[in-house]
Protein backbone atom coordinates (compact mmCIF):
# COMPACT_ATOMS: atom_id res chain seq x y z
CA UNK A 1 0.00 0.00 0.00
CA UNK A 2 2.66 2.47 1.01
CA UNK A 3 5.22 1.11 -1.40
CA UNK A 4 7.07 3.85 -3.24
CA UNK A 5 10.16 3.59 -5.38
CA UNK A 6 12.77 6.11 -6.49
CA UNK A 7 12.87 6.44 -10.28
CA UNK A 8 14.69 8.70 -12.72
CA UNK A 9 12.77 11.29 -14.76
CA UNK A 10 13.67 10.91 -18.45
CA UNK A 11 11.03 13.14 -20.06
CA UNK A 12 8.47 15.74 -19.02
CA UNK A 13 5.14 16.59 -20.68
CA UNK A 14 4.31 20.00 -19.22
CA UNK A 15 0.89 20.19 -20.87
CA UNK A 16 -0.28 16.94 -19.28
CA UNK A 17 1.67 17.64 -16.05
CA UNK A 18 3.23 14.20 -16.47
CA UNK A 19 6.71 12.76 -16.46
CA UNK A 20 8.11 9.58 -17.96
CA UNK A 21 10.18 7.78 -15.38
CA UNK A 22 12.66 4.97 -15.90
CA UNK A 23 13.30 2.12 -13.55
CA UNK A 24 15.67 -0.46 -14.94
CA UNK A 25 14.20 -1.33 -18.33
CA UNK A 26 10.71 -0.11 -17.46
CA UNK A 27 9.34 3.28 -18.48
CA UNK A 28 6.10 4.66 -17.13
CA UNK A 29 4.14 7.91 -17.22
CA UNK A 30 3.45 9.37 -13.78
CA UNK A 31 1.60 12.49 -12.67
CA UNK A 32 3.57 15.54 -11.48
CA UNK A 33 0.50 17.11 -9.82
CA UNK A 34 2.02 16.81 -6.34
CA UNK A 35 5.52 18.14 -6.98
CA UNK A 36 7.17 21.33 -8.20
CA UNK A 37 10.32 22.20 -10.15
CA UNK A 38 11.07 18.70 -11.39
CA UNK A 39 13.56 18.52 -14.23
CA UNK A 40 14.83 15.71 -16.46
CA UNK A 41 17.50 13.75 -14.59
CA UNK A 42 15.89 14.22 -11.16
CA UNK A 43 15.00 11.19 -9.09
CA UNK A 44 11.46 11.17 -7.73
CA UNK A 45 9.65 8.88 -5.32
CA UNK A 46 6.80 7.15 -7.20
CA UNK A 47 3.64 6.06 -5.41
CA UNK A 48 0.34 4.93 -7.04
CA UNK A 49 1.14 6.70 -10.30
CA UNK A 50 2.24 10.01 -8.77
CA UNK A 51 5.61 11.57 -8.02
CA UNK A 52 5.40 12.23 -4.27
CA UNK A 53 8.70 14.00 -3.71
CA UNK A 54 12.09 14.60 -5.16
CA UNK A 55 14.95 12.47 -3.79
CA UNK A 56 17.91 14.55 -2.63
CA UNK A 57 21.22 13.25 -3.97
CA UNK A 58 23.15 15.25 -1.37
CA UNK A 59 21.15 13.88 1.56
CA UNK A 60 21.37 10.31 0.24
CA UNK A 61 25.16 10.67 0.15
CA UNK A 62 25.19 12.07 3.66
CA UNK A 63 23.11 9.13 4.97
CA UNK A 64 25.45 6.62 3.34
CA UNK A 65 28.40 8.34 4.99
CA UNK A 66 26.55 8.09 8.30
CA UNK A 67 26.23 4.33 7.82
CA UNK A 68 29.92 4.06 7.06
CA UNK A 69 30.71 5.82 10.30
CA UNK A 70 28.74 3.23 12.31
CA UNK A 71 30.99 1.58 14.79
CA UNK A 72 33.16 4.66 14.94
CA UNK A 73 32.56 6.11 18.40
CA UNK A 74 30.76 9.45 18.00
Amino acid sequence: MCLAIPAKVVAIDELADNATVELGEVRKAVSLALVENVTVGDFVLIHVGYALNKVSEEEAQRTLELFAQAGVTP
Binding site: L34, L52, N53, T63, F67, A70, G71
Partner: protein, 385 residues
Protein backbone atom coordinates in the same frame (compact mmCIF):
# COMPACT_ATOMS: atom_id res chain seq x y z
CA UNK B 1 18.84 0.47 -8.78
CA UNK B 2 20.03 3.87 -7.61
CA UNK B 3 18.86 4.84 -4.10
CA UNK B 4 17.94 1.20 -3.43
CA UNK B 5 21.02 -1.01 -3.84
CA UNK B 6 23.31 1.32 -1.87
CA UNK B 7 20.96 0.97 1.09
CA UNK B 8 21.21 -2.83 1.13
CA UNK B 9 24.99 -3.26 1.36
CA UNK B 10 26.14 -6.29 3.29
CA UNK B 11 29.35 -4.72 4.60
CA UNK B 12 27.58 -1.70 6.04
CA UNK B 13 24.90 -3.91 7.61
CA UNK B 14 27.66 -5.78 9.43
CA UNK B 15 29.14 -2.52 10.71
CA UNK B 16 25.76 -1.23 11.84
CA UNK B 17 24.97 -4.50 13.63
CA UNK B 18 28.28 -4.23 15.49
CA UNK B 19 27.59 -0.60 16.38
CA UNK B 20 24.15 -1.52 17.75
CA UNK B 21 25.67 -4.32 19.85
CA UNK B 22 28.22 -1.88 21.25
CA UNK B 23 25.59 0.75 21.96
CA UNK B 24 22.96 -1.29 23.87
CA UNK B 25 22.81 -1.25 27.62
CA UNK B 26 22.56 -4.95 28.51
CA UNK B 27 20.71 -4.09 31.71
CA UNK B 28 17.59 -2.88 29.96
CA UNK B 29 15.29 -3.79 27.11
CA UNK B 30 14.42 -1.78 24.00
CA UNK B 31 10.91 -2.29 22.62
CA UNK B 32 10.65 -0.38 19.38
CA UNK B 33 7.38 -0.10 17.48
CA UNK B 34 7.56 0.07 13.73
CA UNK B 35 4.27 1.67 12.85
CA UNK B 36 4.43 0.95 9.15
CA UNK B 37 3.99 -2.32 7.28
CA UNK B 38 6.89 -1.36 5.00
CA UNK B 39 9.22 -1.47 7.98
CA UNK B 40 7.74 -4.77 9.20
CA UNK B 41 8.60 -6.32 5.85
CA UNK B 42 12.09 -4.84 5.70
CA UNK B 43 12.78 -6.26 9.18
CA UNK B 44 11.63 -9.76 8.22
CA UNK B 45 12.71 -9.96 4.61
CA UNK B 46 16.29 -8.95 5.35
CA UNK B 47 16.56 -10.69 8.70
CA UNK B 48 17.14 -7.44 10.59
CA UNK B 49 15.68 -8.97 13.76
CA UNK B 50 18.42 -11.63 13.71
CA UNK B 51 21.11 -8.94 13.60
CA UNK B 52 19.82 -7.38 16.82
CA UNK B 53 20.94 -8.12 20.36
CA UNK B 54 18.37 -10.12 22.35
CA UNK B 55 17.15 -7.11 24.30
CA UNK B 56 16.09 -5.19 21.19
CA UNK B 57 12.58 -6.21 20.18
CA UNK B 58 10.43 -4.99 17.33
CA UNK B 59 6.72 -4.53 17.99
CA UNK B 60 4.49 -4.32 14.92
CA UNK B 61 2.00 -1.47 14.89
CA UNK B 62 -1.21 -0.64 13.02
CA UNK B 63 0.47 1.05 10.05
CA UNK B 64 -1.12 -1.00 7.31
CA UNK B 65 -4.22 0.76 5.98
CA UNK B 66 -5.65 -2.47 4.59
CA UNK B 67 -5.37 -4.14 8.00
CA UNK B 68 -7.03 -1.34 9.97
CA UNK B 69 -10.00 -0.90 7.65
CA UNK B 70 -13.06 -2.23 9.50
CA UNK B 71 -14.89 -5.15 7.90
CA UNK B 72 -18.04 -3.00 7.68
CA UNK B 73 -16.46 -0.64 5.15
CA UNK B 74 -15.66 -3.56 2.81
CA UNK B 75 -19.29 -4.68 3.28
CA UNK B 76 -20.32 -1.15 2.24
CA UNK B 77 -18.17 -1.34 -0.90
CA UNK B 78 -19.71 -4.70 -1.79
CA UNK B 79 -23.16 -3.15 -1.28
CA UNK B 80 -22.27 -0.41 -3.80
CA UNK B 81 -21.41 -3.03 -6.41
CA UNK B 82 -24.36 -5.35 -5.78
CA UNK B 83 -27.18 -2.92 -4.93
CA UNK B 84 -26.15 0.25 -6.76
CA UNK B 85 -24.55 -1.45 -9.78
CA UNK B 86 -21.52 0.83 -9.75
CA UNK B 87 -18.13 0.16 -11.28
CA UNK B 88 -15.97 -0.05 -8.15
CA UNK B 89 -12.32 0.83 -8.65
CA UNK B 90 -9.72 0.22 -5.97
CA UNK B 91 -6.09 -0.58 -5.33
CA UNK B 92 -5.28 -4.29 -5.53
CA UNK B 93 -4.50 -4.55 -1.81
CA UNK B 94 -8.21 -4.57 -0.92
CA UNK B 95 -9.57 -7.23 -3.26
CA UNK B 96 -8.95 -10.28 -1.07
CA UNK B 97 -9.70 -8.76 2.34
CA UNK B 98 -12.37 -10.87 4.06
CA UNK B 99 -15.73 -9.14 4.44
CA UNK B 100 -18.70 -10.43 6.44
CA UNK B 101 -19.94 -13.93 5.64
CA UNK B 102 -16.63 -15.11 4.06
CA UNK B 103 -17.27 -12.70 1.19
CA UNK B 104 -14.67 -10.41 -0.47
CA UNK B 105 -14.45 -8.01 -3.40
CA UNK B 106 -12.65 -10.64 -5.47
CA UNK B 107 -15.52 -13.10 -4.89
CA UNK B 108 -18.02 -10.39 -5.84
CA UNK B 109 -16.00 -9.80 -9.02
CA UNK B 110 -15.95 -13.54 -9.76
CA UNK B 111 -19.74 -13.57 -9.39
CA UNK B 112 -20.07 -10.88 -12.07
CA UNK B 113 -19.76 -7.67 -10.04
CA UNK B 114 -17.90 -4.87 -11.80
CA UNK B 115 -14.87 -4.51 -9.50
CA UNK B 116 -11.71 -3.21 -11.13
CA UNK B 117 -8.19 -3.09 -9.75
CA UNK B 118 -6.44 0.17 -10.61
CA UNK B 119 -2.88 1.36 -10.15
CA UNK B 120 -3.71 5.03 -9.83
CA UNK B 121 -6.63 7.39 -9.28
CA UNK B 122 -5.92 8.53 -12.85
CA UNK B 123 -6.96 5.05 -14.06
CA UNK B 124 -10.26 5.39 -12.15
CA UNK B 125 -10.89 8.77 -13.80
CA UNK B 126 -10.23 7.21 -17.22
CA UNK B 127 -12.76 4.44 -16.48
CA UNK B 128 -15.33 7.14 -15.58
CA UNK B 129 -14.60 9.01 -18.82
CA UNK B 130 -14.95 5.81 -20.86
CA UNK B 131 -18.23 4.78 -19.18
CA UNK B 132 -20.37 7.94 -19.06
CA UNK B 133 -23.57 5.91 -18.55
CA UNK B 134 -22.26 4.11 -15.43
CA UNK B 135 -21.51 5.39 -11.95
CA UNK B 136 -17.82 4.87 -11.08
CA UNK B 137 -16.78 4.82 -7.41
CA UNK B 138 -13.16 4.87 -6.29
CA UNK B 139 -12.77 3.00 -2.99
CA UNK B 140 -10.06 5.16 -1.45
CA UNK B 141 -7.97 3.89 1.42
CA UNK B 142 -4.58 4.70 2.83
CA UNK B 143 -2.66 6.96 5.10
CA UNK B 144 -1.35 10.40 4.19
CA UNK B 145 0.68 8.91 1.31
CA UNK B 146 -2.35 7.95 -0.80
CA UNK B 147 -4.55 10.90 0.20
CA UNK B 148 -3.02 13.53 -2.12
CA UNK B 149 -3.66 11.38 -5.25
CA UNK B 150 -7.31 11.11 -4.16
CA UNK B 151 -7.48 14.90 -3.75
CA UNK B 152 -6.02 15.41 -7.24
CA UNK B 153 -8.65 13.06 -8.73
CA UNK B 154 -11.56 14.88 -7.07
CA UNK B 155 -10.31 18.25 -8.24
CA UNK B 156 -9.87 16.94 -11.78
CA UNK B 157 -13.36 15.38 -11.76
CA UNK B 158 -14.87 18.69 -10.71
CA UNK B 159 -12.86 20.69 -13.25
CA UNK B 160 -14.02 18.36 -16.03
CA UNK B 161 -17.61 18.13 -14.74
CA UNK B 162 -17.28 14.35 -14.53
CA UNK B 163 -20.70 13.65 -13.01
CA UNK B 164 -20.39 9.87 -12.84
CA UNK B 165 -17.28 9.78 -10.62
CA UNK B 166 -17.29 9.68 -6.82
CA UNK B 167 -14.98 8.65 -4.02
CA UNK B 168 -15.71 6.39 -1.02
CA UNK B 169 -13.29 7.92 1.43
CA UNK B 170 -11.49 5.82 4.05
CA UNK B 171 -8.33 7.86 4.38
CA UNK B 172 -6.81 7.75 7.86
CA UNK B 173 -4.14 9.70 9.74
CA UNK B 174 -0.90 8.39 11.21
CA UNK B 175 -0.28 10.67 14.22
CA UNK B 176 -3.78 9.98 15.61
CA UNK B 177 -3.16 6.24 15.52
CA UNK B 178 0.21 6.46 17.27
CA UNK B 179 -1.34 8.67 19.95
CA UNK B 180 -4.20 6.18 20.36
CA UNK B 181 -1.71 3.35 20.95
CA UNK B 182 0.18 5.37 23.52
CA UNK B 183 -3.09 6.08 25.33
CA UNK B 184 -4.33 2.48 25.14
CA UNK B 185 -4.73 0.47 28.35
CA UNK B 186 -2.18 -2.14 27.20
CA UNK B 187 0.54 0.49 26.93
CA UNK B 188 -0.51 2.52 29.97
CA UNK B 189 -0.81 -0.47 32.29
CA UNK B 190 2.55 -1.54 33.56
CA UNK B 191 3.58 -5.05 32.62
CA UNK B 192 1.42 -5.27 29.52
CA UNK B 193 2.93 -3.80 26.35
CA UNK B 194 5.96 -1.60 26.78
CA UNK B 195 6.84 0.61 23.83
CA UNK B 196 9.99 2.66 24.33
CA UNK B 197 10.35 4.29 20.92
CA UNK B 198 8.87 4.57 17.44
CA UNK B 199 10.04 4.33 13.87
CA UNK B 200 8.20 7.06 11.98
CA UNK B 201 6.81 5.98 8.59
CA UNK B 202 8.91 6.79 5.51
CA UNK B 203 6.49 7.76 2.80
CA UNK B 204 3.73 9.16 4.99
CA UNK B 205 6.35 11.49 6.46
CA UNK B 206 7.49 12.54 2.98
CA UNK B 207 4.05 14.17 2.69
CA UNK B 208 3.34 15.40 6.24
CA UNK B 209 6.95 16.07 7.28
CA UNK B 210 8.50 15.28 10.63
CA UNK B 211 6.80 18.10 12.53
CA UNK B 212 3.50 16.29 13.39
CA UNK B 213 5.40 13.78 15.55
CA UNK B 214 6.92 16.45 17.79
CA UNK B 215 3.79 16.77 19.93
CA UNK B 216 3.68 13.21 21.13
CA UNK B 217 7.43 12.76 21.39
CA UNK B 218 7.19 15.56 23.93
CA UNK B 219 3.82 14.62 25.46
CA UNK B 220 4.47 10.89 25.89
CA UNK B 221 8.25 11.14 26.26
CA UNK B 222 9.01 8.66 23.51
CA UNK B 223 11.72 9.11 20.88
CA UNK B 224 10.67 8.97 17.22
CA UNK B 225 13.04 8.37 14.31
CA UNK B 226 11.64 8.81 10.80
CA UNK B 227 13.15 5.81 9.03
CA UNK B 228 13.55 4.85 5.38
CA UNK B 229 12.27 1.47 4.21
CA UNK B 230 15.57 -0.10 3.19
CA UNK B 231 17.27 -2.47 5.65
CA UNK B 232 20.22 -0.16 6.33
CA UNK B 233 17.79 2.70 6.99
CA UNK B 234 16.00 0.57 9.58
CA UNK B 235 19.29 -0.45 11.24
CA UNK B 236 20.60 3.12 11.37
CA UNK B 237 17.26 4.16 12.90
CA UNK B 238 17.57 1.45 15.56
CA UNK B 239 20.97 2.90 16.45
CA UNK B 240 19.50 6.41 16.65
CA UNK B 241 16.60 5.26 18.87
CA UNK B 242 18.96 3.34 21.18
CA UNK B 243 21.21 6.39 21.53
CA UNK B 244 18.22 8.60 22.40
CA UNK B 245 16.95 6.10 24.97
CA UNK B 246 20.40 5.69 26.53
CA UNK B 247 20.79 9.45 26.80
CA UNK B 248 17.26 9.96 28.12
CA UNK B 249 16.23 12.11 25.13
CA UNK B 250 12.73 12.12 23.59
CA UNK B 251 13.09 13.86 20.27
CA UNK B 252 11.97 13.50 16.68
CA UNK B 253 14.99 12.65 14.54
CA UNK B 254 15.01 12.11 10.80
CA UNK B 255 17.09 9.33 9.26
CA UNK B 256 15.27 9.53 5.89
CA UNK B 257 16.55 13.01 5.03
CA UNK B 258 16.90 12.19 1.33
CA UNK B 259 13.11 12.49 1.03
CA UNK B 260 11.65 13.82 4.29
CA UNK B 261 11.88 17.40 5.54
CA UNK B 262 10.40 18.92 8.71
CA UNK B 263 7.70 20.69 6.68
CA UNK B 264 6.92 17.85 4.24
CA UNK B 265 5.38 18.28 0.80
CA UNK B 266 3.43 21.50 1.20
CA UNK B 267 1.86 21.39 -2.25
CA UNK B 268 0.36 17.98 -1.43
CA UNK B 269 -0.76 19.20 1.99
CA UNK B 270 -2.53 22.21 0.40
CA UNK B 271 -4.36 19.97 -2.09
CA UNK B 272 -5.53 17.65 0.70
CA UNK B 273 -6.72 20.62 2.79
CA UNK B 274 -8.77 21.97 -0.14
CA UNK B 275 -10.70 18.71 -0.56
CA UNK B 276 -10.75 16.88 2.78
CA UNK B 277 -11.52 17.72 6.40
CA UNK B 278 -11.26 15.82 9.68
CA UNK B 279 -13.92 13.28 10.64
CA UNK B 280 -15.06 13.57 14.23
CA UNK B 281 -14.30 9.88 14.69
CA UNK B 282 -13.64 6.80 12.58
CA UNK B 283 -13.59 3.11 13.37
CA UNK B 284 -10.24 1.36 13.12
CA UNK B 285 -9.92 -2.36 13.16
CA UNK B 286 -8.15 -3.27 16.38
CA UNK B 287 -8.35 0.22 17.86
CA UNK B 288 -12.12 0.88 17.81
CA UNK B 289 -13.42 4.43 17.37
CA UNK B 290 -10.50 6.85 17.23
CA UNK B 291 -11.36 10.57 17.45
CA UNK B 292 -10.16 12.85 14.63
CA UNK B 293 -8.20 10.03 13.03
CA UNK B 294 -9.63 10.07 9.51
CA UNK B 295 -10.67 12.38 6.72
CA UNK B 296 -13.97 13.01 4.99
CA UNK B 297 -14.76 14.91 1.82
CA UNK B 298 -15.60 18.60 2.39
CA UNK B 299 -19.16 19.83 1.78
CA UNK B 300 -17.83 21.84 -1.16
CA UNK B 301 -17.08 18.54 -2.94
CA UNK B 302 -20.07 16.58 -1.63
CA UNK B 303 -21.44 15.76 -5.07
CA UNK B 304 -18.29 13.63 -5.53
CA UNK B 305 -18.72 11.90 -2.16
CA UNK B 306 -20.05 8.34 -2.57
CA UNK B 307 -21.41 8.47 1.00
CA UNK B 308 -23.62 11.42 -0.04
CA UNK B 309 -24.48 10.11 -3.49
CA UNK B 310 -25.58 6.61 -2.48
CA UNK B 311 -27.55 5.10 0.36
CA UNK B 312 -24.95 3.11 2.28
CA UNK B 313 -26.50 1.11 5.10
CA UNK B 314 -24.62 0.81 8.39
CA UNK B 315 -24.67 -2.85 9.29
CA UNK B 316 -22.85 -4.53 12.15
CA UNK B 317 -19.90 -6.42 10.73
CA UNK B 318 -18.75 -9.78 12.03
CA UNK B 319 -15.11 -10.45 12.79
CA UNK B 320 -13.86 -13.96 12.05
CA UNK B 321 -14.06 -16.02 15.23
CA UNK B 322 -10.64 -16.62 16.77
CA UNK B 323 -8.87 -14.06 14.54
CA UNK B 324 -6.41 -12.05 16.62
CA UNK B 325 -5.86 -9.27 14.04
CA UNK B 326 -7.25 -6.58 16.37
CA UNK B 327 -4.77 -7.39 19.19
CA UNK B 328 -1.92 -7.88 16.70
CA UNK B 329 -2.58 -4.42 15.24
CA UNK B 330 -2.21 -2.87 18.70
CA UNK B 331 1.09 -4.66 19.29
CA UNK B 332 -0.56 -6.55 22.16
CA UNK B 333 -0.07 -9.97 20.52
CA UNK B 334 2.26 -11.47 17.94
CA UNK B 335 0.96 -13.28 14.85
CA UNK B 336 2.22 -16.58 16.26
CA UNK B 337 -0.02 -16.04 19.32
CA UNK B 338 -3.08 -16.50 17.06
CA UNK B 339 -4.38 -20.05 16.93
CA UNK B 340 -5.50 -19.57 13.32
CA UNK B 341 -1.99 -18.52 12.17
CA UNK B 342 -0.51 -20.96 9.69
CA UNK B 343 -3.26 -23.51 10.39
CA UNK B 344 -6.38 -22.24 8.65
CA UNK B 345 -5.08 -18.73 8.02
CA UNK B 346 -2.38 -18.47 5.35
CA UNK B 347 -1.81 -16.01 2.47
CA UNK B 348 -3.64 -18.48 0.17
CA UNK B 349 -6.60 -18.69 2.53
CA UNK B 350 -6.56 -15.53 4.65
CA UNK B 351 -8.96 -15.25 7.57
CA UNK B 352 -7.85 -11.80 8.67
CA UNK B 353 -6.59 -8.66 7.00
CA UNK B 354 -3.10 -8.91 8.54
CA UNK B 355 -2.57 -12.05 6.45
CA UNK B 356 -4.11 -10.59 3.28
CA UNK B 357 -2.16 -7.41 2.98
CA UNK B 358 1.36 -7.70 1.67
CA UNK B 359 2.25 -5.30 4.48
CA UNK B 360 0.41 -7.10 7.26
CA UNK B 361 2.38 -8.45 10.23
CA UNK B 362 0.95 -11.98 9.77
CA UNK B 363 1.94 -12.06 6.09
CA UNK B 364 5.46 -10.97 7.06
CA UNK B 365 5.70 -13.69 9.72
CA UNK B 366 4.38 -16.27 7.28
CA UNK B 367 6.65 -15.28 4.40
CA UNK B 368 9.89 -14.72 6.26
CA UNK B 369 9.60 -15.43 9.95
CA UNK B 370 7.69 -18.60 10.63
CA UNK B 371 10.79 -20.77 10.91
CA UNK B 372 12.67 -18.38 13.17
CA UNK B 373 13.54 -19.55 16.64
CA UNK B 374 11.19 -17.70 18.97
CA UNK B 375 13.62 -17.59 21.91
CA UNK B 376 15.55 -14.35 22.19
CA UNK B 377 19.30 -14.41 21.97
CA UNK B 378 21.31 -12.98 24.79
CA UNK B 379 22.56 -9.46 24.28
CA UNK B 380 26.14 -10.61 24.00
CA UNK B 381 25.46 -13.16 21.26
CA UNK B 382 27.81 -12.73 18.34
CA UNK B 383 25.94 -12.42 15.08
CA UNK B 384 27.44 -14.04 12.02
CA UNK B 385 26.32 -12.52 8.76
Amino acid sequence: MKYVDEFRQHKLAKQLAAAIRDEVDTGRSYHLMEFCGGHTHAIFRYGVQDLMPGNVRFIHGPGCPVCVLPVGRIDNAIHLVEAEDVILCTYGDLLRVPASGRNSLIKVKAAGGDVRMVYSTQDALNIARENPDRQVVFLAIGFETTTPPSAVALQQARREGLKNFSLFCNHVLTPAAIQNILESPEVREIGSVAIHGFFGPSHVSSVIGSRPYEFFAEEFQRPVVIAGFEPLDVMQSVLMLIRQLNQGRYEVENEYTRVVTREGNQKAQRLVAEVFELRRSFEWRGLGLVPYSALKIKADYQEYDAEQRFQIPVSPAKEVKGCECPAILRGAKRPTDCKLFGVVCTPDNPMGSCMVSSEGACAAYWSYGRFRQPEAKSASTEVAI
